[in-house]
Amino acid sequence: MMSNVVLATGLVLILIGLWGMLTHRNILRIIIAFSLIGTGTHIVIVAIGYVTNGTAPIIDRALTLLEAPARAVDPIPSALVVTAIVIGLAVTAVMLAYAIRLYESKKTLSIDAFTESKW
C-alpha cells in the first residue's frame, strides 16, 4: 500500500517534468523539468524495491542478521539509485554548460531562437 503512494508520487513528478519540458520555451526551465523527470524516476525505482514492513538493509541492533532476509527492503534498487543520482548530476552539469554556450551565441535562452537544428 505504502509503495503505491510513493510510486504514484514519482510518476506524478515525471508527468510534471514532461509537461514542463513540452510547454516552457526557456532552456533553463527545460533543464529543471528534465531534472524533475530524473528525480521522479529515482522515486519510482526506490518504490519498486519496497517490501511490506521492510526497513533499510543495514545490519545492526535494530535488524539482526537472522531476521534481515524477512525484514529488509530490496537493496538493489537503492544501490542503482545512488549511482543514478550521480549520473543525473553529471548530465545536468553538461546541459547547463551547453546552455551557457547557447546563451553566448545568441544572447537569449529561448529555444525559439535556435532554429538551425529544427527539422
Binding site: 510518476l11 514532461l18 509537461w19 510547454t23 532476509p69
Partner: protein, 232 residues
Amino acid sequence: MRRAFVILVVVLFGLVFTSLVIAHNERHSLRPLAESYVKLIPQELGAPNVITGILLTYRAFDTLGEVAVLFMVAAGVGLVLGASNKRRKSSPRKVVETARLSSEIVQSGAQILAPLIAIFAAYIIMNGHRSAGGGFQGGAVIASGVLLLVLASTRYRVDLEFLSMTESAAGVLFVLTGIAGLIFAGGFLDNRMLPLGQFGAFFSAGAIPILSVLLGVKVGCELSVIIDRFRA
C-alpha cells in the same frame, strides 16, 4: 494546437502510469537475488550496510565505470566552457570588480560551516560500511562545501591542478586495489584481500573502507572541478 498536443501527450502518459500504479503489487518478500545479497554481504564480506557491499564489491566494477563517467563529464564541461573561460581570464580584474560581493552573513557562515562540512563528509565516507553513507554521498558533501566557499568569496580560487592530481591518484589507487583483489582474493575489487575484522567495527569489512575513501576523494574532486568550471 501545440497546447492541445501537449495535453494529449501528458494525459496519455498519465493513463499509462495510472495503470502501472493500479497493477503494482507490493512485494511481501525479497526477490531471490536480493535475498542472497542480504544474506551474503554481512556473512561473506563482513559489511553491515548491504548497499555499500553491493556498490563497492559485487558491483564495484559498475562504480568504477561510473567514476569514469564523472571524469568524462568534468573533462567535457571543461571542453565546452573552456574557451569562454580563457576569454574571461584575459580581463580578470574587470570580472572581480563587476562581480557582486556576497553578503557578510554568507561570508561568516561559510567560514564557520566549511570545516564542519569537511568533517561531516569525512564521517559519511568513513562510516559507509557500517551505517548509511559511502563514497558518493561523502564526495557530494565535500563538493557542497566547495560550492559554499565559491559562493561566499569571489577571490576564492579552487586549485584545479591539485584537484586533478588528487583525483588521478585516487583513481589509480582504486584500480590498483582492484588488481590487488585479483591477486590476493577471489577477483577484481574483491574486498577480502584484507582481514574482515570484527563485524560492525570501524576497521572491518576488508578493503571496503579503503575503496570508500578513494571513491569519496575522487567524487569530491571531480564535482569540485565541475563546480569551478561554472564560475563566472
